[in-house]
């Protein structure tokens, strides 16, 4: 099934062009088509659609989107089936080399060569990049064997190479935890996972099933302070950090290993956003968007991890559906919903997406908390809405559905999103 909807001929004008065929792109393309847009092009640089899902071979995907627990490749397959039912041109092995502010798209691929086309609207669904050693400035030598967890995941799960024999993982994000288990099952000795913060940044389920099940130690409030090795990593030094996250070097110890995997966070891939000079939110690293995921350049939409880092592919698909539908509407010249309410992060909230809401339509507000609250928590959307939840933790994105009715009387206002322990509220 994959690839069979490669277009025979590229058109010179599309209604909607979607850049990226991961969960966001796949969902946006279907939504645009369902909205009535006819000529839809989806472009991806990889040989097959699916994006990062193809290397995420573990389960835990799809509970919301497909009502079943599936693996990443299965999620990609199910999402692609929806695309194939629609008439969407899917162009793989293709780079978007340039997009201008008047929405001319330049593409390059081995099959189609270099082509230029016009598009009525554009959905950026390019996903994220991993933070690297340079992002956190680990001192030491520069031997081979230091790599991001996602790169190791690609090596192991797609190409059948092991990154090393004795590995240490820095960062307890989900990819790092999942790679700890994956490498262990493939016979690599995983010596420990080190986390700067006093809590794991991945999901509790992954701490239990990826580390505890395999007796892999998790060292909280500890980080890597030095890397040694000439050709290849030979040894790293780790040290506990104090309350200000400063390493206590006098308490450091060495670990002999040949591999250091970094699972220290993702950053939205904002290359196209920068090229198009979109307004960016420094909190998310992605574009500022309206309730329909439209960026500061009319006709350009963003969805998925290039907008903000999601915890579940399911949320990406949902968010991209809103973006794709609106991209279809804009391409067809339909009315845009008024964006008359502003949202902003408040107490214990790291960021909020989208940045504006509409009193004319339903929408979903997504945000991340800064500190975990293990207990009843009240979520506030200004004075417009509040909802009690059992607990909030930074690894899990929090979402709130916001109907036009809730926003009645708030047009023109700025609503602050807070996440506060219920006891503190009452006191």
């Amino acid at each position: 099934m994959p690839i069979t909807s490669q277009p025979r001929h590229l058109l010179s004008r599309y209604d909607v062009t979607v850049v990226g065929a991961g969960p966001a792109g796949l969902s946006a393309a279907v939504a645009a088509r369902e909205q009535g847009a006819e000529r839809i092009l989806m472009v991806d640089r990889d040989p097959e659609p699916g994006g990062i899902l193809l290397q995420c071979i573990h389960s835990g995907f799809g509970l919301h989107e497909f009502k079943q627990d599936v693996t990443g490749p299965e999620y990609a397959h199910l999402a692609l089936e929806r695309v194939i039912e629609q008439d969407v041109d899917v162009l793989t092995n293709t780079y978007v080399t340039d997009v201008t502010r008047d929405l001319r798209v330049k593409l390059m691929s081995p099959e189609a060569g270099i082509s230029t086309l016009d598009t009525g609207s554009l959905v950026i669904a390019t996903g994220a990049r991993e933070r690297t050693r340079a992002a956190i400035k680990i001192p030491g030598e520069r031997p081979a064997g230091v790599m991001t967890a996602g790169l190791a995941q690609k090596m192991v799960n797609l190409h059948g190479y092991l990154p090393g024999r004795r590995a240490v993982i820095l960062g307890s994000g989900d990819i790092g935890l999942i790679m700890a288990r994956r490498l262990t099952l493939e016979g690599v000795q995983v010596l420990g996972v080190f986390e700067l913060l006093p809590f794991a940044s991945g999901l509790g389920r992954n701490v239990v099933q990826c580390l505890q099940d395999f007796d892999i130690p998790l060292h909280l409030s500890t980080t890597v302070v030095d890397i040694h090795g000439h050709q290849r990593v030979e040894r790293i030094a780790v040290a506990p950090v104090d309350d200000d996250l400063v390493p206590q070097l006098d308490k450091s110890w060495d670990i002999e290993c040949d591999t250091l995997l970094l699972s220290i966070g993702l950053i939205p891939d904002a290359e196209l956003a920068r090229q198009l000079q979109l307004n960016l939110d420094p909190r998310t690293g992605g574009p500022v968007v309206t309730s329909t995921m439209e960026t500061s350049l009319p006709g350009v939409f963003a969805a998925g991890n290039n907008l903000h880092i999601n915890d579940l592919a399911d949320w990406v698909s949902q968010e991209a559906r809103a973006a794709g539908a609106a991209a279809g509407d804009v391409a067809l010249g339909r009315h845009r919903a008024r964006q008359d309410v502003t949202v902003t992060p408040g107490r214990n909230v790291a960021y909020v997406v989208p940045h504006t809401l509409s009193t004319e339509r339903s929408q979903t507000v997504s945000f991340r908390v800064k500190q975990p609250i293990y207990g009843d928590t009240m979520l506030h959307l200004g004075d417009a809405h509040k909802r009690k939840v059992r607990a909030v933790v930074p690894p899990e994105m929090v979402t709130m559905k916001v109907s036009p009715k809730l926003l009645d009387g708030f047009a023109g206002d700025t609503l602050r999103v807070d996440a506060i322990p219920v006891e503190e509220e009452e006191s």
Binding site: T4, H9, H159, G160, G204, V208, A391, V392, P395
Partner: protein
């Protein structure tokens, strides 16, 4: 899984022991204490909702895990084919399940959900492909 303590005296005179598990059914992550005697769960404490009772009982009496891994693939767009156990595997057999697959080589094309092996490592559980691999000739070029 991690801690294991003698039960307090109210269960005195018998073999009841308390086992501690972290409930993974929601982000609250309740610390469950499961009292068990001769493998039978007597009581689950520490839960904040009833899903915790179910989780604690299952995790104590028959812990199982979803298992996915990859096997060699010939003639595909990449060298490894993602696969998974058709149903959850007993926790104690996860390593064996995965290791027993190290020699398996699959030829393209592969149907989505194809059964690639049965009764893997004596678990009675099938192995299924989680990605469709189309034949080379079906990879159409752009006209």
């Amino acid at each position: 899984m991690t801690e294991r303590t003698r039960a307090p005296d109210q269960h005195a005179g018998d073999e009841a022991e308390t086992f501690v598990y972290l409930c993974t059914s929601c982000p609250l992550g309740c610390r469950l204490e499961v009292d068990a005697m001769d493998g039978d769960v007597i009581e689950v404490r520490g839960h904040s909702c009833k899903r915790g009772i179910k989780y604690g009982t299952q995790e104590h009496s028959d812990p199982r895990r979803a298992v996915s891994t990859t096997v060699w693939l010939h003639g595909g767009p990449c060298e490894r084919l993602p696969v998974r156990a058709a149903e959850p595997v007993p926790k104690a057999q996860v390593r064996e399940f995965v290791r027993s697959l190290s020699g398996l080589v699959v030829e393209a094309p592969v149907a989505f959900g194809a059964v690639l092996a049965t009764d893997v490592a004596g678990t009675g559980i099938d192995l299924i492909a989680t990605r469709e691999i189309v034949a080379e000739r079906e990879r159409e070029p752009v006209g």
